[in-house]
């Protein structure tokens, strides 16, 4: 292929978008985080934008509601990610074992929630968590168990459940596809060596789809750190979820409720740095394990 011009034409639309909706906004966020509105005198006169250095960062990092939101999202990741990866991988291994019946029906059923938009998944589960509407709560009540899904200790697991429900099947399909790509000779050798089906799944198949596990973990992590839709919806019904429940909600609240752009920008940059650091950590950790 020769023509440089053709290459440029094919790439131009995407890179135009990359600049307009990615590079410039990231730059703007960083820039905004170092500037703030300064009210001259006694609050009279026009507002001026002045360089405030790290003031916004200090304000964010010393704000207990922000630290709480970070803690919440870390806790959420610690519950959600292992459950998701282990759950999806287990289901894929079971379906791949050749014993499961009605395999393609099971796959379709498991995948279905992924076609349900996040806000609607949250709506469905909100109703299933709401006393009076929920058949689940009624069922528990018949067994004399009173359960409040939106209480102080249960609200985070309830959110994890919504996310798990939405994405389990999607990740299962990725793992299943990767398992199908494992050469059958490798597996046959393992059977000859006398490995039982469980040992075969855990010791041989799972390590062979390591690349898929890393990919799924990374995407799940990036997605989980953005936690917004589910808590925002539950916020309408549960006093346990504040307007600054997760870092993304904190950013939204700072920017559009309090109109403090410097604070919102600093929180955005911190969330971005945190995401990049964690993703980098996951890659490094898995690479080192692979080297062993």
């Amino acid at each position: 292929m020769r023509s440089k011009l053709a290459c440029a034409v094919l790439m131009a639309p995407f890179f135009l978008l990359l600049t307009a909706v990615f590079l410039v906004p990231v730059g703007t966020a960083v820039w905004l985080s170092f500037f703030g509105a300064d009210q001259p005198g006694l609050g009279f006169g026009p507002e001026r934008t002045v360089f405030v250095g790290l003031r916004s960062y200090v304000a964010v990092l010393s704000d207990p509601t922000f630290l709480n939101s970070m803690l919440t999202v870390v806790l959420y990741c610690l519950i959600y990610i292992p459950l998701m990866v282990v759950g999806a991988l287990t289901l894929a291994l079971l379906l791949d074992s050749g014993v499961a019946k009605l395999r393609s029906w099971a796959q379709m059923g498991l995948y279905l929630p992924h076609a349900v938009p996040g806000i609607i998944a949250a709506l469905i589960w909100l109703y299933l968590y709401t006393p009076g509407i929920s058949p689940i709560i009624d069922l528990f009540a018949k067994a004399d168990i009173r359960i409040n899904f939106l209480g102080v200790d249960t609200v985070l697991p309830s959110i994890v459940n919504i996310a798990l429900w939405s994405n389990l099947g999607y990740n299962m399909v990725i793992f299943y596809a990767a398992l199908q790509a494992v050469p059958r000779e490798v597996l046959e050798a393992a059977v000859v060596d006398g490995a039982g089906p469980v040992k075969q799944a855990v010791r041989i198949k799972a390590p062979l789809v390591r690349a898929a596990i890393v990919t799924v973990t990374m995407f799940t992590l990036i997605w989980a750190l953005q936690l917004f839709t589910e808590p925002v919806l539950l916020n309408q019904s549960s006093p346990m979820i504040s307007a600054r429940f997760s870092p993304s909600m904190y950013i939204y609240d700072a920017a559009f409720t309090r109109n403090n752009y410097g604070l919102a920008a600093a929180a955005s940059v911190i969330l971005l740095a945190f995401t990049i650091a964690l993703s980098y950590g996951v890659t490094r950790w898995t690479n080192r394990r692979a080297a062993r």
Partner: protein
């Protein structure tokens, strides 16, 4: 495998399928109930069948806003995903077939963009749109969703897999220009890849909630997701909104399920390409 093992496997898979299906079934049944029956949570009683009433109410509520939202969602999602798929796949193809300086560094930048949370970009995007006078317009939601770096990554993989260099060389010898070759020959071979990227982006845009929430204040521009969110907040005060929100949710789920059913073989191929590398 032992009988016990077989039973356990099928039991675990069966319970998992029930876990994923029952909430959707609940939505289906709840959409046939009026407010009173809904609050008695007597889902299986056949005495009350208000589905047609619910649909009528849904489209009549607030002067027919729902059909407006639905149309908006279709427009944002179908047109946006189609444009986005062509833009991303073209770029991925160029990354595969051309060589130029700093190519891999540039590709690294594309991959880095996949990692950046949407919520980080929302405030600066809002301020930029506000500067350009685009806040609270169709374009404020439509333009950012065209950006799909993961689509470029998939496009490059599909291009490697589906478009042999010999075919391009043959076209060149025939005297076809590079762009003509792309549009007449390569794009046809990339068809399944374009469909996969389209489907992923269709889902993403149909799901889009944060960006419209930030950008739009005019209810008439809302997509379904944001509209239902708003109606749900109204439901805590006036319960007649509950059946409307539930029925509206059900109708909003259908197009994606349909799209996934019809285009199954494409997205399966796409998922494999993304995961196995």
């Amino acid at each position: 495998m032992t009988l016990l093992g077989r039973t356990t496997v099928n039991l675990v898979v069966g319970i998992s399928v029930l876990y994923t299906l029952l909430p959707v079934l609940w939505l289906l049944l709840a959409a046939t109930k009026n407010v009173d029956a809904l609050f008695q949570s007597d889902l299986l009683s056949l005495g009350d069948f208000s589905f047609t009433d619910n649909v009528k109410n849904l489209f009549a509520m607030d002067k027919g806003l729902y059909s407006r939202w639905y149309l908006n969602s279709v427009l944002y999602a179908v047109v946006g995903a189609a444009a986005s798929a062509f833009i991303s796949v073209a770029c991925g193809y160029a990354f595969d077939k051309y060589s130029f300086r700093h190519k891999e560094k540039l590709f690294g930048l594309v991959l880095a963009a996949v990692m950046v949370p949407q919520t980080v970009l929302a405030l600066p995007l809002y301020l930029m749109a506000s500067e350009a006078g685009l806040v609270n317009t169709f374009w404020a939601v439509f333009i950012p969703v065209l950006f799909n770096p993961f689509g470029v990554y998939l496009g490059r993989i599909f291009s490697q897999g589906y478009v042999p260099d010999e075919v391009l060389e043959a076209a060149r010898i025939d005297g076809a220009g590079d762009l003509a070759t792309y549009f007449r020959v390569a794009l046809r071979m990339l068809g399944p890849g374009v469909v996969t990227v389209f489907l992923f982006q269709l889902t993403a845009i149909w799901n889009n909630f944060f960006l419209p929430m930030v950008m739009l204040s005019d209810q008439k521009l809302y997509p379904v997701s944001l509209g239902l969110y708003q109606w749900n907040s109204a439901a805590s005060v006036s319960p007649e909104y509950y059946p409307v929100v539930i029925t509206g949710s059900l109708l909003a789920v259908l197009p994606l399920i349909l799209a996934f059913q019809l285009l199954q073989r494409f997205w399966r191929a796409g998922l494999t390409a993304g995961a196995v590398k």
